[in-house]
């Protein structure tokens, strides 16, 4: 095993451990963690199997193996960014609905409080 292989394997394990920790602590929801887990699994496979990238590149007709890696990685990142934008748009809409509902309820609550206070004006 070459040195670089050992380094990548080590880094992958640290990364997986970190993701796992985030999920355990409830800081990362599982549906967002899936993609990171898959990524690390892929990376681990290729670090144990260094010829794999060359073989895949040949299969897909890419001349230089690293190009396949970069193209694949950039494409995956782009897709994921779009997904994140969709999620944040959804959150934006939800926050708007909640904010509006809250303002309406707050006003109603204050009105109800006022109405409750008014009839109880007996002196004691």
């Amino acid at each position: 095993m070459t040195r670089i292989q050992l380094i990548t394997i080590l880094v992958n394990f640290i990364f997986i451990a970190y993701i796992a920790r985030l999920i355990i602590k409830g800081k990362l929801r599982e549906e967002y963690a899936i993609i990171w887990v898959i990524c690390t699994i892929l990376l681990t496979i290729f670090s144990f199997w260094p010829n794999g990238l060359e073989i895949m590149a040949k299969l897909l007709g890419v001349f230089q193996a690293p190009n396949l890696l970069f193209t694949g990685a950039i494409f995956a990142i782009l897709i994921y960014l779009v997904h994140i934008s969709v999620v944040s748009s959804k959150l934006h809409n939800n926050i708007r609905k909640l904010t509006q509902e809250m303002a309406l309820l707050k006003q109603e609550l204050e009105k109800a409080k006022q109405e409750n206070k008014d009839p109880q004006k007996d002196p004691d």
Partner: protein, 235 residues
């Protein structure tokens, strides 16, 4: 039969102009068939907008986060539906829309039964006409609206608008966030609501300053154009 009307006033840092505006609204005398109420939507202002409004005897909806003008107006629209108002008027908190002009909108609605009546600065070309750059923007949206709605709406950016029941129900479900007027026209006309325009006289701000800078205008122009296109395509 009395018609219940709600004046929706979205506010962001408008403590300077609100007292005058509210006084003007209170001093308003409308024909007997109209029953007027008003609500201030405080869009998370940093100043004392909410206190000033309450001190002047207005109902206030305090938004806990800043939603932008569209989100604020939509809150008022939801309030109008919840409390069974027949009509709602959107009126800016800075006093650009004189309450005395409200009767023109109501009159137009009574005669035409339109779902949406827009108070327009540019039919009679009287009163406050906005800055040159803004007028250019308004011309641009006029063209864009003609393209998307096949209607000539001269003041498509006017925030002085009267919404009927059908328009209220639609806007409660679907209303754009910031700079909502041009885009909402596309939404309304796609739903086959009738839109009428009536000349009104506007004026400059009563106090405070605008929340839209010139850099932001370009960004909003672009954003709104895109939003209009997609509202047009969307079912």
């Amino acid at each position: 039969m009395t018609l219940k009307i709600l004046i929706i006033i979205p506010c962001y840092n408008e403590q300077a102009s609100l007292p005058i505006l509210l006084q003007e609204i209170n001093a308003l005398s409308l024909p007997e068939e109209y029953e007027l109420d008003k609500i201030i939507i405080n869009d998370c202002s940093k100043d004392k907008t909410s206190d000033v409004a309450k001190a002047n005897g207005a109902k206030v909806l305090d938004l806990p986060c800043n939603l932008g003008i569209g989100g604020a107006v939509q809150t008022g629209i939801k309030y109008a539906i919840k409390h069974n108002f027949d009509l709602a008027v959107q009126m800016d908190g800075d006093g650009q829309h004189p309450p005395s002009e409200l009767i023109k909108l109501l009159e137009c609605q009574r005669l035409t039964q339109a779902d949406l009546v827009i108070g327009s600065r540019f039919i009679d070309r009287k009163g406050f006409q906005s800055s040159f750059i803004r007028r250019m923007g308004i011309r641009y949206f006029y063209g864009l609206n003609r393209l998307f709605t096949q209607k000539s709406i001269y003041d498509s950016t006017s925030g002085f608008r009267l919404l009927g029941r059908a328009a209220l129900n639609l806007a409660a479900k679907n209303y754009p966030d910031d700079y909502p007027e041009p885009e909402s026209l596309v939404i309304f006309s796609k739903a086959n609501l009738s839109i009428k325009e009536v000349p009104v006289t506007m004026r400059g701000r009563l106090g405070g300053k605008s929340s839209i800078g010139s850099g932001a205008s370009v960004f909003y122009g672009f954003k709104v154009s895109l939003a209009m296109l997609f509202s047009f395509i969307r079912n």
